[in-house]
Symmetry: C2
C-alpha cells in the first residue's frame, strides 16, 4: 500500500461544514486557532516550529454515529483529521501540521458504566469527572496527569503516559492499565473496530494517528482516603532517598511522591508558608490511614512535615497541581525562559546516576523528580527544569544523560517516535496502514509512516 | 536486672484457679494438653523436642481487666504464662516449655471500630471474622496466613510473618503494617502500656515473651473483587518466571502468587481436575477486574488456565487453603514423612539462585514458592517440601542454601532468634526486661533473655 498525501487545499470549508448537517462545527478563525493549539510552547523548539500551524474547521460530534459521518466526509474529500481532547498535551500532539479538520471530542463525555475495578467511558470525559462518578462507589482512575481537572481520558490515553498514581500502578503502557478501545477508522468505508487485551497497544499512545477512539474500558484503582503532605529536607539527595524509600515501603500506600530541589519550591507561590527557603521539598499524596507510619519514616530521614491536609479537608490548593508538568507551568510563570526535560533513571535504590547528574549540572538543570513504578521497581523520573540557552546546548544536555544510561523522552519534538518511544512501533504502523490508508490522521506525527511514504 | 527462673512446681492449681474468681479456667488434663499444642509436629525435630510439654491451667479471660487480674496472680505466684490464640503456629511458639498458665485469648474477639483503611480489634478476633465486618465497608486485612479461617490477629502478629496479601503489602514487620498495640505487663504491679508507631516493633513478632497484647490497631487494604485462578505450565522455571513477572506487573492487582513444582500438585486432592499430571501449577488470587490482562500474560508465557472462579462464586475450595503452609499440610496428609523449609531468595528478576537450587536438590527438596514484596521488590519465598532423612542432612540442606545467599528462616526451632530473626533484637529484649522482670512470659523462647540470665 502506498500512503498518499492529502490534497485538501482546494476544499470549500463552508460546503464541507454544511455536508455535516446537524453536527456542531466552528469556523470562526480565532476559535479555530485556539482549538488548534496545546501546551507546545513549554518547549522553545516546538514554539518556533508550530506557532503558525492551525486547522481549518473544528467539528464537535456528540455520538459515534456522528464521528463516523465526519470520518466519511474526511475520507471522501481527502481531508486531514486531527483529534482533540482538552488540548493540554505538551508536545504539540494535537496541533494539525497540515490543517484540515480538528475533531473535538469533548462533547462525547459519558461514563457508560462502572463495575468494581472497571469503567467504560467516552473519550471526551474529563478525568476528574470520571472520578466524581466512580469515587462514591469506592473506585477511581488509577493514574492521572496533573491536568486531571481539564484533560480528557481519550487525550490521556492517546497522548499521555502516566502521572499521579503511577507510583502504584506504573504507566499507561503497562499491561492491565487499558482494557479495551472502540476505534473509528478512516477507510473508504469508515467503520468501528473493537480492540481488547494486548491489541489495544496498537492505538495506545499513538497521538491519534491511527484511529479515532470513541469508547474506552479502563481499570480503576481503590479510592483510598487520600491525604496531602509536604515534607522538607536540608538537602536534595536526602529528599530523593526519602522518596525512593517511601515508594519502596510496602506498608505505606502512596499515590504521589514528587521531589523538588531548591529553588524550584520558590516558584510555588500558593504554598510558600510550607516551603522554607533553601530547602528541598517533597510533595506527597498518601492514604490518610498511613500518616502515622509516614511520620516515622520522615523522622528516620530527618525531614520536617510543614503541611498536612486530611482527606475530608478540601481547603487550599490541590497539591497535585504543583507536580508533574504543573511544576514546569509554575516555574515558567515566574521565568518564561525555563524549559524542561523528561528523564527516566535506571533502577538503582542508591540513586547514583541521579546524584551525579544533580552535581554535574548544578543550577542549569534544576532537579524535579516524580517517582513511579517501572516493571515493579520504584524509579525516579526527572522532569528537570532547564535554563534554556541554545538548541545545541539542550541537545548536549540530553546526550550527556543518554550517554550515561538515563533515558530521555524528548519533550521538544511532536513526532511520536522521537519522543519517548525511540523506535517505530510495527504494530501501530501496521494498524495505521489498515485503518488510515490515505494517511489523513494527524499527518506528520508518525515517523514510521512518513518513512514508509518517502 | 537479673532475670529469675520461675519456681511454680509447688503451686496448688485449684487454689490458683479459685483466686481468679469468675474468670473461665480449664483444669481437665486432656483439654489442657490440647490447648498446650500447636502445629509444631510439621517439624520432626520439634515433634521430638516438644511432644511432652504441657501447661497446668488454661485461663480464658473476656476483658483486659481480667487479663490484668491473671497477670497479677502469675506475678504473685511466679507462675509462667504462655499466651495462646488459635494455636496454629508452626514452631511450637505457643507451647509452654515450663508449664504454668495458658492464657487463651479467643474470648476477647471484638472488632472495636473500623475506619477507612484502619481497624481496632481485640487479639482473639479471628482474621476471617475481621474481614466479615470490614469487607462490606470496602476494606479487608492486608495479609493473612492460610490459616485465615481459624487464626487470631493477636497470634498472627505475635507469631506469624505474612501470607496471602504479602505480594502487595510486604510482611508484618514492614513499617505501616501494624499501627498500635495495647500490652499488659507482668511487672510487680501489672499495667497497660500503649505502643504506637515504630515502638510497636518492641512486641511485634516476639512470640508473646514480652507482654500480653490486648488490643491492636491494624491497617486495612482495599477489598478488591478477588477471583481465583489456576494456571499450569510444562516446566517449573517457566511457572516461576511467570510468577515473578505477574508480581512485577504494576497494572495487574494480585493478592496471591503461589507456585508448585510437580509432584506437589498431586497432593491437592480437591483440585485434581484442574491439575494435569507432570505440570507445575500456579495458584492465583487476582482482582476479577484484571482477569483479561492476566489472560494475556498467561498466553505470553505459554501457560494454560485450568480453573477460574469469579469473586461472587463461593463454590468449591478456597484456593488460599492450598498455599503457604497449607501446602505442607496437604503434602503431609499424603506422606507424613515430609517436612519443609522457609527460604527467602535474594532479589533477582532472573531467578538464578532459585534455578540452581531447583536442579541441585531434585526430588529431595520439592519447590513451593510464594511470591512476596520485600522493600518494594518482588521476591520468591520458598516453602520447599523436604523428604526428611536425618537431622544432619536437614542441617546440610539449610547450610547449602545459606552458603549461596538464600536466607533460611529455620522452622525447626521454637526459639525466636534461631528462626527468622537470626540475631537478638535489643529493643524486644529491653522491653522484656521492663515488662517481664521475672521472665515469666513464654519462658525458653527468647535466646537473648536466656543468655542474659546465664
Ligand atoms: C501543566 C501540564 C501538566 C501535565 N502533566 C502530565 C502528566 O502528569 N502526565 C501526562 O501523561 N501528561 C501530562 N501532561 C500532558 C497532557 O495534559 C495529558 O497527557 C492529558 O491527558 C492530555 O489530555 P487532553 O485531553 O488534553 O489531550 P489532547 O492534548 O487534546 O490530545 C493529546 C493527543 O491525543 C490525541 N487524541 C485525543 N483524543 C483522542 C481520541 N479520542 N482518539 C484518538 N486520539 C486522540 C490528540 O490527537 C493528541 O495527539 C501535562 C500537560 C500540562 C500542560
Ligand atoms: C497449615 C498452616 C498454614 C500456615 N500459614 C501461615 C502463613 O501463611 N503465614 C504465617 O505467618 N503463618 C502461617 N502459619 C502459622 C500460623 O497459623 C499463623 O502465624 C497464625 O496467624 C497464628 O495465629 P494463632 O492465633 O494460631 O497464634 P498462636 O499459635 O496461638 O500463637 C502464636 C504465637 O503468638 C503468641 N501470642 C498469641 N496471642 C498473643 C497475644 N495476644 N499477645 C502476645 N502473644 C500472643 C503465642 O504465645 C505464640 O507464641 C500457618 C500454620 C499452619 C498450621
Amino acid at each position: 500500500m502506498t500512503p498518499q498525501t492529502s490534497t485538501h487545499t482546494a476544499i470549500n470549508w463552508d460546503a464541507f461544514a454544511t455536508e455535516l448537517g446537524d453536527i456542531e462545527t466552528i469556523r470562526d478563525p480565532i476559535q479555530v486557532a485556539k482549538l488548534s493549539k496545546d501546551y507546545y510552547y513549554f518547549s522553545p523548539i516546538l514554539k518556533t516550529a508550530l506557532d503558525d500551524k492551525t486547522g481549518d474547521l473544528v467539528v464537535r460530534p456528540k455520538t459515534e454515529a456522528e464521528v463516523l459521518q465526519v470520518a466519511r466526509a474526511c475520507v471522501a474529500n481527502r481531508v486531514p483529521l486531527t483529534v482533540r481532547g482538552a488540548g493540554t498535551g505538551n508536545y504539540g500532539q494535537a496541533i494539525p501540521l497540515e490543517g484540515g479538520v480538528i475533531l473535538d471530542l469533548t462533547a462525547m463525555n459519558a461514563v457508560k458504566w462502572v463495575k468494581p475495578g472497571l469503567a467504560c467511558v467516552e473519550p471526551g470525559a474529563r478525568l476528574a469527572a470520571i472520578d466524581r462518578i466512580t469515587r462514591p462507589q469506592g473506585w477511581e482512575i488509577r493514574m492521572a496527569p496533573s491536568t486531571y481537572r481539564t484533560a480528557t481520558i481519550g487525550g490521556f490515553i492517546a497522548g499521555g503516559s502516566g502521572g499521579i498514581g503511577s507510583v502504584r500502578y506504573g504507566q499507561l503502557r503497562d499491561r492491565g492499565n487499558l482494557h479495551a478501545l472502540r476505534v473509528v477508522t478512516l477507510e473508504d468505508e469508515p467503520r468501528v473496530i473493537e480492540l481488547r487485551g494486548d491489541a489495544v497497544q496498537q492505538v495506545n499512545h499513538a497521538y491519534g494517528t491511527n484511529g479515532i477512539i470513541t469508547e474506552l474500558e479502563i481499570p480503576l484503582g481503590a479510592a483510598y482516603p487520600w491525604a496531602e503532605v509536604i515534607v522538607t529536607f536540608e538537602d536534595f539527595m536526602t529528599a530523593s532517598r526519602f522518596g525512593q524509600r517511601l515508594g519502596s515501603s510496602d506498608g505505606i500506600i502512596s499515590k504521589l511522591i514528587s521531589v523538588h530541589a531548591w529553588p524550584i519550591p520558590s516558584y510555588f507561590a500558593a504554598l510558600q508558608t510550607a516551603l522554607p527557603a533553601e530547602q528541598s521539598a517533597v510533595l506527597l499524596i498518601v492514604s490518610e490511614s498511613c500518616l502515622e507510619p509516614l511520620g516515622e519514616l520522615v523522622k528516620e530521614f530527618g525531614g520536617t512535615i510543614t503541611a498536612e491536609k486530611g482527606a475530608a479537608d478540601s481547603k487550599g490548593s490541590a497539591l497535585g497541581e504543583f507536580t508533574w508538568n504543573h511544576t514546569t507551568l509554575h516555574a515558567r510563570n515566574v521565568d518564561p525562559s525555563l524549559t524542561y526535560l523528561q528523564t527516566l533513571f535506571p533502577y538503582d535504590p542508591e540513586l547514583k546516576l541521579l546524584e551525579e547528574m544533580y552535581h554535574h549540572f548544578g543550577n542549569e538543570v534544576m532537579m524535579h523528580l516524580e517517582f513511579l513504578r517501572v516493571q515493579g521497581n520504584i524509579v525516579p523520573a526527572g522532569l528537570q527544569l532547564v535554563r534554556f540557552s541554545t538548541p545545541e546546548r539542550l541537545d548536549e544536555i540530553i546526550r550527556y544523560h543518554e550517554d550515561r544510561g538515563a533515558f530521555i523522552a524528548n519533550p521538544h519534538t511532536c513526532i511520536l517516535e522521537d519522543g519517548g518511544r525511540k523506535r517505530v512501533d510495527r504494530g501501530q504502523l501496521a494498524f495505521k496502514a489498515k485503518v488510515d490508508p490515505y494517511g489523513l490522521m494527524n499527518p506528520g506525527k508518525m515517523r514510521g509512516w512518513m518513512e514508509g511514504s518517502e
